[in-house]
Symmetry: D3
């Protein structure tokens, strides 16, 4: 008699009684997919590599909890997301105290996913920015003959010296350059601004020909237009582009929940437009979203919601590219 | 001797010792007005009809407390608000557990106020968005021969199925269409964006010819210009326009204090400009402001302050229309 | 190769990689149990019946999320909880706007669970205090010949007049008395204190011979000793005792996350001891925990953690009773 | 038709539709009383005299807002508060920038109230602790021949040097001693503890024979018993006792909303018992409650609620003394 | 052996082990400079003069703590700040209870610093806005023959009547006009908007020919362009311009940590551009930043970070002017 | 002229203008002491070894900032702390990403400090609980012939398996037992309670004869009395006792700012009494305080204040032992 009302406990991945049409109805578990998914999500819940205290390791779980509140339909572009196949490979298990081991596992996971699903777009949910170096190394190992370009949206250059910090979240770009994985001139960083990079680091970037655009320049050109222009250039010089979105590129008034929030940053509107362009680009192969720290977020989980929205913009772009 | 310093306790409506010139000096209690007021405020403190947990029932009281901090003078337009007469009719008493009864009372209140003060602009302070359907039904019953148009500023379509939810805050537009109160083609919704309406609901809206503008389109045209254009159109097709402002139309970074805050929404600056245009329009007869939840607001009561400011913009527009 | 590290996404009820021994390893889904469980949990996520704004409907979900952080072992009593069988029947689906219908479903659920599992202890996770009246009515309907006694831990009498409020959270005890379900002299309320019940309500309680103990008297006797004494008395006068724990019985400094938190209340230590005594008593058949509101809790979810701990104390008592 | 539901806006002192029996129904405005009230409340909203930043000036307003949630009935003592007459004289208007002038007004207000209502108990709602010196000076000026004793509940001695700070919140006791208003040996301070008074200040207190009891000694004797014993002694040596309750005497876990919250302090339960004893004592003539800062309180207004409860305990004691 | 790791406790001004290049490495203590510094910082930690409760007195200390997280390099303009010499003169000691004395000390400090370092730009870190009147009076006394112009960025006119409030934070501009220190027509106020100045105050400003620009007008022209235009005009009519930045000019969504935060204000991006223009102008001699209240800021210290960034923009402008 | 008021910026360790008598006036920098200090403080700012996200690395800095608000005088015991000499050796520099290296440095630091100052009590300020194993190993290496006993105040056994977690904060006791540094029977753990240790870990503790006392047993005996009894026993079986205070032993209502806060824990009053007993005991040689996480603390820094108070209780005990 009470059958319709006694809901099962909230244990299951697609547990909602909402009418269908939400993100959790659409994304599949990787062990349940029947064909090769166009996009594979995987979490890298590591933030012990962060220079300052960070709870970014908590983000992958929050990301999946919040997506239940997002419809699988983009109103502005009139895009039905369910026409694109996405599988969730789950989180990489991190070691509690051995950061190098955790980094190694991320690298191997990226390698293995790319080996198994060479055609799929890999989308890593961080974690702090050190994870990006691991993912790119794994992809490079999987496809050693391919030249990788990087499009980075960030407030920071992330070229601190690993000799001093170890493989910390301030060092991934330098790790990749010095490890011979990516060449400086194949790296574009958009969103730098203000007083958040020392002169010494700026000089390093110049020396290695990293292409940088300040927020001021970026706004003059337009975020999307600049991204399109740079992706075009990178696609002519490299075999594939990896995009890394450090959410601290956003202004502190939009994104309080990142460990290094600063004033003077990007607006969400600009980021969302940029991610459409990124998704649309055939040159872009893989992406990550890093440095969202739920423990620093406001009570309404503002920054983490932006994180889900941002990822959906990339998905929308992918479909527009297909169509 | 101590007469000047011993202030009476803070029990009274116009209790401030501030120099005059503030909103609470200007708005009158409805039982004290001597002529028909140009605008009548009334509160509908109901949010039990909300799909998610909502404290929007607390807003009318906070609205009246905060207005003591607002001058009755618009600096930008050089408008003295006191040249316009506003009366506060107080709050409708809600039933503690019977939502249908509460809805009935709102409907009767709107009916009764319109019957008694047919020339006055009614301004309802919600409460959640279910209250809008009640208010419009009451007005329709009062003036059955008048065709009503709706201008809605909202992140959501609010066309969920009442058969499934009852008369909840996700359903008012569908209630009005299916109840024959307002026709779909007389409804304009501005501010929709992102991933907050399922495909199924978008299709319902299309089927019923609700006119929708995404934030992206809206920004291309300009919020005020679009509102003016649509009000013009509506005024040629209907007898009067009812405006409903769901404050969740605002971006989450401006308005955390709404139950369904999302990224990608309207900026306050845009909303404020739009409300000037709305106030100026002779076609607009009544208005409501819904879904502000003081219990979700930040410690500085940011969203509720925006709510007062928004209402004052509408008032400023009214005067500009008169003058 | 990466098999051990690529964890599946966090979708599953027993999804932890923690070494076994935690609560979520122990509690089973009701459709997976192989024999009649000794205790059945079910959630009643309703708080629209609350006089003040309440998010207590959110508690059942938070309760199940937090229990992953609790070991299934009581250190102080050296009790292994896994020797007791508990099944989770999930949540009752509430109607969005029809409170009476939601109440009816709770009543039917309690009836149906008791019909199906007449030997099991039912443990309802609220929801606000109005749900208690429903559960007890359901049990009474299931076993109409049994006389029910109530042991209530509460700051309030909950005897407001349903004629005025409807079946709100301030009325359950009066509903049960006036509905002839439970007699006033079979009700014991422990924890009343301070200035949180009007004279008129106290007089109602006296008139109906509800037995009340103020916190002051309770402390003089000792919470556990008083509970044991009163359960003994009730067991001699009734067939079974239903215990209802309104978490607002706790002092505001311990339990901020209840809608009506007050100073002068019970300490957690006292509540926990009392729940051991309650669990141990053969007279006690069913229990509920109500009025925990996660949206009012502190950032560290203090009150909800106390809620899980409190329930585990009752479980510990059950086992001590068995053993 | 809608008459019963259209409530007037919330402008009025007795604006609640709650069934009667709450504090705001009982306390009268001073200009409406018909006979001499037994107790007169007045607010001293000054905290610019505080050494650290303080918003204690906001407390009188919050105090009157929160009392609407308190019944005028003490459950534990079965006391109906309405048998005692209380009038609210409102707040003393403070000067915005001239602290000395504000202090002068408080002194004159206390003088004037005592001249007009010599039999009434004056109850001052602070404000910071500097206001106590003013109130006592005003009373002394009104009754110059009466010897005043002080019972102080406080974490601090408040004997810093006014020559260094001016008449700040750390100095009131020293002001009164050095101004010849009260003698050191007629001052008792209960609740001192930990590391919150320098050796130099302790030595000053000893030199002036202020009687001090640490929390540790106090607990050994029992708060109420110690208070009763000391009030007895003071009543034999002075004509009247003024009680000053600095709410920072409470432990930081109970009372976060005071500018100088410390661990190791009094529990609310102890304070509440002590205030019953104080209220019951015929020796006690006047009282104040100071240093509650709503802007530092938790979101649930925990400390301010304790403030209302504490005052009601004093009221309860007054009635027990009468009866 | 452990020498390299055992860091000294964090007691020292340049205590960081970060690689050099941060603000605290660059700013010198005034008693350690070897030549006349181009800019001198001094703190005026006074906010007892504020009409509403304010903790702006806490800002100078937070300002110096946060600057350790800012690089001494402006990325957008490619400016190395260390090419400009800045000395920190510390904070002016405020009197605890005598606001007039505190004001006198600020005035004398500004006088003395200008007498000792007549060529240096003085940069005052408030405190509330009353401190501006003191600083300008001190400078005028030091250089009585120089005509001073004021460029004010503010949401308020600050022309309330000192006869009513004393020298409060709402009065500094009126103090200066009525004290004959600055003439009304030499004052420009940019950023006024909304409903935050009464008609009466606007009329005062008009009567004294204060030049005002609403946010709406300002945006039409462009913040930087308007500032440049007005500085040009002021430089032709006065000998030097004093800039006062009341941080409440910013929109509440950017700057919650000011006592009078309002919607409709300036964006940080606009303020930052404006401060570049201000820094670049040779007409500008001195500056202050007032009304940042760390106790009202969000947990991530958003507003105070904006305060440091804003000051660095002015510094960047200074260097661009030199170069 | 302005000399007295222009305070130097707040850069210095003893920078306060407060009258002397506070903690920061008393504690000396280690490179400034003239004789061997009786106690040496050192910070171990490491929390990357924590199983859950922890910001305990931030505590040493907050500890030193807050002590400026504590007088160097214990009111209850009438003890002047300045009669005891304390030096601050600063913080050990942690590696950003290499936890093992950070652990090695802590071990060496403890070794080196003990070698240099063999008579001094070492007081380590953590950091998470993994640091305790390092400190004790360092001391053991310094004095290999001494048998060490451990008195642990904790909610957890901390005997998880390092083979699984590495040297994490859940493992230090097991590390020490399995490393042969301390024998199980020389370890006493007081404060265990509730559901925070799995059966498996309890069995490990029993197997290794760790002596454990639940909060319930502890309260029956009395915290201080139990501590005295166990220290007496340990002193007869070992050469010296190391005390480790995991602040999560406190109840969640007192100490929200610890990563694993639980209900059912110790009261501050009990901890403070216990630390007096610990300080008084000649058997106790060294101590640490771990697991205070400022980033989880409430806005008023409640838990960190308790941390300073707790340390001062130990200091008071030391002096009582001497005297």
């Amino acid at each position: 008699m009470a059958d319709n009302w006694l809901r099962e406990p909230n244990w299951s991945w697609n547990d909602s009684l909402e009418p269908s049409g939400y993100v959790h109805d659409w994304v599949q578990r990787i062990n349940e997919v029947e064909s090769v998914p166009e996009c594979i999500l995987y979490g890298a819940p590591l933030s012990k590599s962060s220079i300052s205290v960070s709870g970014a390791s908590l983000y992958p779980e929050v990301f999946r909890r919040l997506w239940k509140q997002f419809a699988a339909y983009n109103f502005e572009e009139e895009i039905d997301l369910t026409s694109y196949s996405v599988a969730d490979a789950g989180d990489i298990l991190m070691h509690t105290t051995d950061v190098a081991e955790s980094h190694r596992r991320i690298e191997i996971a990226a390698y293995a996913l790319n080996q198994t699903f060479p055609k799929s777009t890999l989308c890593m949910i961080g974690g702090d920015h050190s994870t990006t170096a691991c993912a790119i190394r794994g992809l490079k190992r999987s496809q050693p003959n391919q030249t990788i370009g990087i499009l980075q949206l960030d407030t920071h250059l992330d070229v601190r010296d690993p000799a001093e910090y170890g493989p910390a979240n301030g060092t991934p770009i330098r790790q990749l350059i010095e490890g011979g994985v990516v060449r400086g001139e194949h790296i574009v960083n958009i969103g730098l601004h203000g007083y958040y990079n020392t002169k010494q680091l700026v000089e390093y970037a110049k020396r290695h020909q990293i292409k940088t655009y300040s927020m001021k320049e970026t706004r003059k050109i337009g975020v999307s237009r600049l991204i399109e222009q740079e992706l075009k250039r990178l696609s002519s010089e490299t075999d594939l582009v990896y995009v890394t979105v450090d959410m601290d590129v956003l202004d502190i008034s939009f994104a309080p929940g990142v460990p290094a929030a600063t004033p003077g940053g990007m607006r969400t509107e600009e980021l969302f437009e940029g991610l459409l362009s990124i998704g649309k680009s055939p040159a872009v192969k893989h992406i990550d979203f890093v440095c969202l720290d739920p423990s620093r977020d406001s009570r309404i989980e503002e920054t983490c919601r932006i994180g889900v929205h941002a990822w959906l913009q990339f998905m929308t772009g992918r479909i527009m590219n297909k169509g």
